[in-house]
Assembly symmetry: C2
């Protein structure tokens, strides 16, 4: 089954178009986790990376029954060098062992010959002295399209080869996004040109449910544009960051979805993984060790908020 | 001394505006290196990464007297996960111990809060459970500007804090570069808009020699544009890929330089590090173990070619 159909299946099984961003930063990890890592490895890079892993592990353990996927922000891991990549890989394998899909959010970009190495490293098999190594890899990765289609093609080829998927940045959620993404080409803003290029690729690569493994990142802080982009990209699955902490509401996101409640997966990172720091959850879960319970409540709340707005928009199947 | 002045000093000391790209791929590494790594670690990811390190180490040992800097293409390393990042770090430290400047070519990009993590990881100090870790980092890194200036600013802040520098992608060397980089904004192509933005940053941050630590990547396969970009970006140091294998000649590059022979550093990767595979060098250096001698000859040839074209253009100081 194409990877996008696997993702859709999990979203439908769990009635949950939410992906949780595992973007841990050491300053926000509960002390009991850090203390244990410090006892084991001292105040080292390895201990910091181990804290990130244990934090992720406990979140995955608690959240996996209700979510289809996790998204790992690579910046959080690679800052710790080899130990950070070790934590990235262990988290990825842990998530997969809990039957979660994994999105590798690394936003890579380079010219073709180098893009191919990124594609192999993040999605495929890497060459050894003889033969190849086949460690588990993420199901999807994010890429940056600035260099043009010949920089995107090697990722697409590797996805065909390994049954993986992409989310290409089309419209990002940060305030400066319009500066360059709204430059005009062929009478339309650049992000719509890129949207059209992704749609062309998607049309040629549809899965059983009509969507392609070649998706797009569409920042939710530009809700007025989501509807337009949905029209341009009818076969493209959206990864939508920006819910919650970054400011978008569920009602603003309904246009990303189709009449079956499909077509998009909405990410929240800080709003979920650090929910134990919110006052309302601190009262309910006063013990630090209950941090993942607060995250569970937060993800259920987010899911219900999204489903409510989809229901209002007449986009939720009766069976959900 | 500002990092850009350190780079200029090394270029002047060695009369060599060349940076060698250490972009090793396992299939092109001499067998004697791979055999030794395999004997030590078996046919593992660790052995592949160790081969990359030894290849780099021997190149650095042979080339460091004549070059000012090396550029490490991150894709080649991170494909090998934790062992790859270990090789990246060891190569970086080895290059620094040979008094070379290091450019971390990772083309990172993300929204501000995440860009800050990339900046810390690649250029700064990373937070531990208590305090920070201060491993040696690269002197410069490359970044992708697609997300806009608020995604660039965290890198600039870290550069101010740690005395580091950036090369922001302005114009890449691949055939598809025009697709998105020539979208129009304010009546000019996007890459010129980005060039203007980098110039504004550079004007406020000049070193002793008139250049800023906030440089630009300018693909050499678009020689007609280099002159225009030099006019827009008078205080911006250029990192120029595309010489040799990618097709640009020294004469096409002269316009990247100012009247003192400064203002740019030209990268070659495959053309130098795999010189032992060229027929002319195979005759001179038949033994695989002489591979770095072939690279030495290739880098001297490239340097002389660049200096010749700068001399012809009247841009070479008499003292060189």
């Amino acid at each position: 089954m194409l990877i996008i159909d696997q993702l859709i299946q999990k979203i439908e099984e769990k009635h949950c178009p939410v992906v949780v961003g595992l973007d841990p930063v050491i300053g926000k990890i509960p002390d009991f986790i850090k203390q244990e890592a410090k006892n084991k490895y001292g105040n080292t890079v390895q201990a910091a990376a181990e804290s990130l892993f244990q934090f992720n592990r406990l979140l995955i353990e608690r959240l996996h029954p209700v979510i289809p996927a996790v998204k790992l922000q690579m910046a959080c891991y690679e800052m710790y060098g080899k130990w950070g990549l070790d934590t990235f890989q262990r988290t990825l394998e842990n998530a997969k062992s809990h039957d979660l899909m994994v999105i590798d959010d690394s936003k890579r970009s380079d010219i073709g010959s180098t893009a191919r190495l990124y594609a192999l490293g993040h999605l495929g098999s890497v060459p050894l002295i003889t033969g190849t190594s086949t460690k588990p890899k993420a199901d999807f990765m994010t890429i940056n399209p600035f260099l043009g289609t010949d920089s995107i093609n090697p990722f697409i080829e590797e996805c065909h080869h390994s049954n993986k998927g992409l989310f290409t940045l089309v419209r990002t959620s940060n305030p400066s996004a319009p500066e360059y993404q709204e430059a005009l080409t062929g009478g339309q803003p650049l992000y719509k040109k890129i949207a059209g290029d992704i749609q062309k690729i998607a049309e040629q690569n549809r899965g059983n449910r009509g969507y392609s493994p070649f998706g797009a990142v569409i920042g939710a802080t530009w809700p007025e544009e989501i509807e337009q982009l949905r029209t341009i990209m009818s076969e493209v699955f959206f990864l939508v960051p920006g819910y919650g902490v970054q400011g978008a509401t569920a009602d603003q996101l309904a246009s990303a979805f189709d009449q079956q409640g499909l077509g998009a997966i909405v990410n929240s990172s800080r709003g979920i993984i650090y929910a134990h720091a919110w006052s309302k959850f601190q009262e309910k879960y006063p013990d630090q060790k209950q941090f993942a319970d607060a995250s569970y409540d937060a993800v259920v709340e987010m899911r219900d908020d999204l489903l409510r707005s989809l229901r209002q928009a007449g986009k939720l199947p009766d069976s959900w």
